[in-house]
Amino acid sequence: MSKRFYGRCEYPGQVTAEAIVAPKYLQGFTNVDPFSGYTTERNHPLCRVPYTGKVLVFYSPRGSGGFLMYGFGAKPAAFVHTKSSPLTVGAIVQARIPSISDFEEDPLPFIESGDTVFVNADEGYIEVTKKGSA
């Protein structure tokens, strides 16, 4: 099963990769390790779960401008997120990876970690294929 969601291209490019979904706001600064490619926030469900090379799916960041560190080092393959803000702008200008936000229909309730996501930022959509479906 797959479904397409249309949004606003924040940074162009196309990539297909596995999704990693943050069920809670993501935080930067000391609460991300850009060299290892995972969040280090205590209490966070993704603490020490690598996002490198995956489509990082989240609602919104929170906290310091140090969120931009998600754009350094062992960075994700793409950003897919519900809400854009100056914090996401700061991360994307660092990362320069395909990024989409401000969707017509929020894709977050549909995407689970392990799903395959085709991010076509050039044409402003993502296509989510559920894990286990051919």
């Binding site: 291209c9 000391t30 854009s84 803000s85």
Partner: protein, 439 residues
């Protein structure tokens, strides 16, 4: 739909982008254009307020790098900051304390070759050559995450600014009523321009969520815990925050840093208190409220518990100064510590420009007699470590409580945090024990 569209630039901006005013301004403009493309901003706004940038800041991003030679040449040719620009505390791990570094027994980023109390490392980390060039261009080197405490030149209501530090975003937008996004860099401050979106636009500053709580928010720790809880509940929305007294400067510092840690709040209103909120209805721009959120006693308690991460009541060290302490905080601490003796290290951190007054007023001597260390211009979380052997630290701000543990992600060797009021932290410094509790 137009994707990744270039912004509309004026003739002057186009000339800068084409290199007509040199390589430094060109790189700055290229960076701003890319920010516009990512954010969807259709144009730049001319800044008429002030700038706050993390220094040295020559790397606008990994892809927009200004070399020291280019900057030096720019300065030699008369290149200046377009708006009054202040240095924030550097976010880079090597950043040295400006004062007290001789006693700062920790290694930046836990690197053994980066001991902050090593004179050779300190001298290198001060990056004097770079700062001389930046100062030549007009940078005012306050080196503080709370540089509004010492600016002596605050932006006025409605002025367009470009600040960076998260806790200063809220100070600028909500407390002062000036307008900033998270974008204070060499690019914005040097060109005096920023992407025109988000908090520069009046409609985006209107309150969208009404927040209430059960108790009247009065004490410093209540402002701090409430701030984190409101941030978590509202994230990127603009909350209208009720049930508080009028905050003092210390409480604004705590609330502004906590709300921008628990969430991504960069603007809020306190009805009848903050400049753009004579009433709740005015703060909402006359529009309907999207959501009503009540933060009850249980939610405040949960937030307090989240900020605490403790496995025993023995404390190794106490850290006060996030954000950097104001002069009244220093005075209060000095008087409370007079005649007392700390049992464990107590670090007190302030803005560099408040160090000399603290010395002149006798606070430094009182701290030293009590065995406390006064530092300036630094931050444990930003340096990325605590002194050797410290595994249980006590702090009095949500921001430091929630960030410092991220520096120690190893489950087998964690850093524990006891979070509470300033008085509870002082008690811990004098006894080595944690006796704080939520009240």
């Amino acid at each position: 739909m137009s994707l990744f569209a270039a912004p509309n630039l004026t003739d002057e901006e186009k000339r800068i982008l084409d290199g007509g005013e040199g390589i430094v301004k060109q790189k700055c403009m290229e960076y701003l254009v890319e920010l516009c493309q990512i954010s969807g901003a259709e144009r730049l706004v001319d800044l008429n307020g002030t700038g706050d940038m993390h220094t040295p800041g020559l790397n606008l991003s990994q892809h927009h790098v200004i070399t020291l030679d280019e900057l030096s040449d720019f300065a030699d040719r008369g290149g200046r900051f377009k708006i009054p620009t202040f240095a924030d505390k550097s976010p880079f791990m090597d950043q040295p304390p400006i004062h007290g570094w001789e006693h700062c027994n920790l290694c930046a980023g836990k690197r053994p070759d980066a001991r902050q109390d090593d004179p050779i490392f300190h001298e290198k980390a001060m990056q004097r050559e770079t700062f001389q060039i930046l100062q030549k261009m007009g940078l005012i080197t306050t080196h503080s995450c709370a540089n509004y405490l010492v600016m002596s030149y605050l932006p006025s209501v409605g002025q367009h600014c470009s600040w960076f530090e998260s806790s200063q975003q809220t100070y600028c937008n909500a407390t002062l009523g000036a307008r900033t996004n998270f974008d204070g860099t060499l690019a914005t401050c040097l060109l005096g321009k920023a992407p025109y979106y988000d908090m520069h636009i009046t409609e985006n500053r209107h309150g969208t969520i009404m927040v209430t709580t059960d108790r009247l928010i009065t004490s410093d720790i209540e402002w701090d815990v409430y701030g984190f809880a409101v941030g978590e509940a509202c994230d990127v929305e603009v909350p209208i925050v009720n049930n508080t007294v009028i905050p003092n400067t210390t409480q604004y510092q705590k609330f502004n840093s906590a709300i921008a840690t628990g969430g991504a709040v960069r603007m809020y209103h306190l009805p009848g208190i903050t400049p753009e909120a004579p009433t709740a209805s005015f703060a909402a721009g006359g529009k309907p409220i999207k959501e009503y959120i009540h933060i009850d006693e249980a939610a405040l308690r949960r937030t307090y518990d989240v900020l605490n991460y403790r496995n025993k009541d023995d404390i190794d060290m106490v850290y006060l100064g996030c954000p950097h302490l104001n002069i009244v905080d220093l005075m209060t601490l000095a008087l409370k510590l007079e005649g007392k003796k700390c049992k464990i290290p107590l670090w007190i951190v302030t803005a560099p420009w408040l160090y000399a007054p603290a010395k002149e007023l006798g606070y430094l001597e009182k701290f030293e007699k009590a065995g406390a260390l006064l530092l300036s211009g630094t931050c444990l979380a930003a340096v990325g470590s605590v002194p050797d052997g410290v595994r249980n630290i006590a702090v009095d701000t949500a921001k430091q409580a929630y960030y410092i543990t991220g520096c120690y992600p190893d489950e087998n060797d964690p850093l524990y945090v006891s979070y509470g009021s300033t008085d509870e932290c002082i008690d811990a410094a004098l006894t080595g024990k944690w006796r704080g509790e939520w009240r």
